[in-house]
Amino acid sequence: MIRSLLIANRGEIAVRIIRTCRDMGIRSVAVYSTVDNNSMHVQMADEAVCIGGPQSAESYLNSKNIITAACLKRCDAIHPGVGFLAENAHFAESVEKAGLIFVGPKPETIALLGDKIQAKRLAKEAQIPVTDGNEMPIEGVQEALRVAQAIGYPVILKAAAGGGGRGMRIVEHPRQMAELFPVAVREATAFFANGSILMERYLTKAKHIEVQLVADGSGSVLCFGERDCSVQQRHQKLIEESPAAKVDRTLIEHMVQCSRDLFSRIGYRGAGTVEYLVSNGSYYFMEVNSRLQVEHPVSEAVSSSDLVRLQLLVASGIPLSTNQSEILLTGHALECRINAISTGKITRFIPPLGPYVRVDTHLYDGIEVGPYYDHLLAKIIVHAPTRNQSIATMKRALQELVVEGLSTNQKEQLAIIDSPQFKNGAFDTGIYRQTIEAQSCKNT
């Protein structure tokens, strides 16, 4: 069993992982950049090591300093958190080469699933429906036009090596291709050092549904329900819920079965998510996130479980002792991400409390929120018996939350939660545009 864990991350996710370490009696070692020396994760961990300057490349992406810190602090494992090095196969490999446990999938699994074209091929082999698209990287605008013609417009261009909405371009008409294809290639090259571009049919009225799994790499694959993450702003998730509203349960069951089969087939180990688009009563494989996700607490809430704990057990080589039938999904859970939309020093922070509410955050009075990292300040998670009650409780929580010293998206989140579109449940990924952007237009 892992006894000492280095957490190669910062912010709320580092704090969240440290909490599980404390629950499990595991010694936690934080790493931090010079601007994070007062961060909550540094204060909460049993020990902390400064690993570099403010720029991520110097610190949180500095695998050498991170692995050296883990070795010298006598850790036996590294948890990459979410973001930074979490989906970096090379890092996972280096961790293992240093004789440490990487809390995540095997490096080759990460590499395999990190290439979207390969992943899609894999999904097809596992009989999972995929959207029409190319199976080889597209070479130039001419080929792009030919493929798009075959698929039908609108199409979406994605970096084959990428994720997180970067490098994505939607092409609605052939005349846009000559302009947008090179942009996608440039962004893919810049962000992922790989200019390979994947093209797919773009589904306009689709829900983003994902299935949360944990597998032990030796036969057991458990599902912790699905999440609807359709509330997105520029492909960045804002609100997640489980179970999904207004989606046929039989469809969900099929998606769950497909996802479990896929994980079994590739001998997946660790926590992971299979993402789908659901449109017109059909579902289409999108990608696998071979890591923990920001929105994992939604699934923890409905399944009354601790996914980080399971990650640590599986990484320690302990097979999953639970059966799928023992995972009871109860009630309805919602998560709102509270993002900073400016930098500043937090002058007052009051988290919402009380029944049905969980808060994951690294904020405290006096902490500086700088420009260097992710803008996620806090996650508010509610879990109530019904979707209506969840919505009411989330509204209450968002109204209670106080963050002073910088601007956040708190009011915007409240507007979405309180909108008829969201309450109705039958929304798609266009809901942000329909509620917030439409509202802003009206106001100006």
Partner: protein, 140 residues
């Protein structure tokens, strides 16, 4: 890796008995080999690192040299070798002042400017983190 240019690296490599040098940073990677059979024991690869100077814990007219990486601090290049520097030594810009081991690689830290070693602030064989004070020095 702060403000390293090719000349600095080649200059350092020339004045150091390593047979190979491989250096990677965010902006570039460089590999240098020397055409000779000589080899350093205990050192698989050597990395030349320029120390960042932080005005930290300094007293009066002294400066502090801090660690640019996470690793194990050694005053000596090898277990039985004499120390790179001792208190009272006057060192030139570019002189190696200590070795920091990280992931089985020995990284030699150079003085960024001519100085005199006033105090050694890290213990032999101890872990040092990024930015940790290693030497108190007096600029010459």
């Amino acid at each position: 890796m702060y403000n390293l240019d090719l000349q600095t690296i080649l200059h350092a490599f020339e004045h150091y008995p390593a047979s190979e040098l491989e250096l990677s940073c965010a902006s570039f990677t460089i590999k240098i080999k020397r055409n000779s059979g000589e080899n350093l024991p205990h050192v698989q690869t050597a990395e030349i690192t320029k120390a960042e100077t932080v005005e930290h814990r300094k007293t009066q007219d002294t400066s502090i040299i801090t660690s640019p990486i996470v690793g194990t601090f050694y005053l000596t290049p090898a277990p039985d070798a004499p120390p790179h520097v001792q208190v009272g030594d006057a060192v030139d810009s570019g002189s190696v002042i200590c070795t920091i081991e990280a992931m089985k690689m020995m990284n030699q830290l150079e003085a960024e400017y001519p100085c005199e070693i006033v105090r050694v602030l890290a213990g032999q064989g101890s872990m040092v983190e990024f930015g940790q004070p290693l030497f108190e020095v007096k600029r010459r």
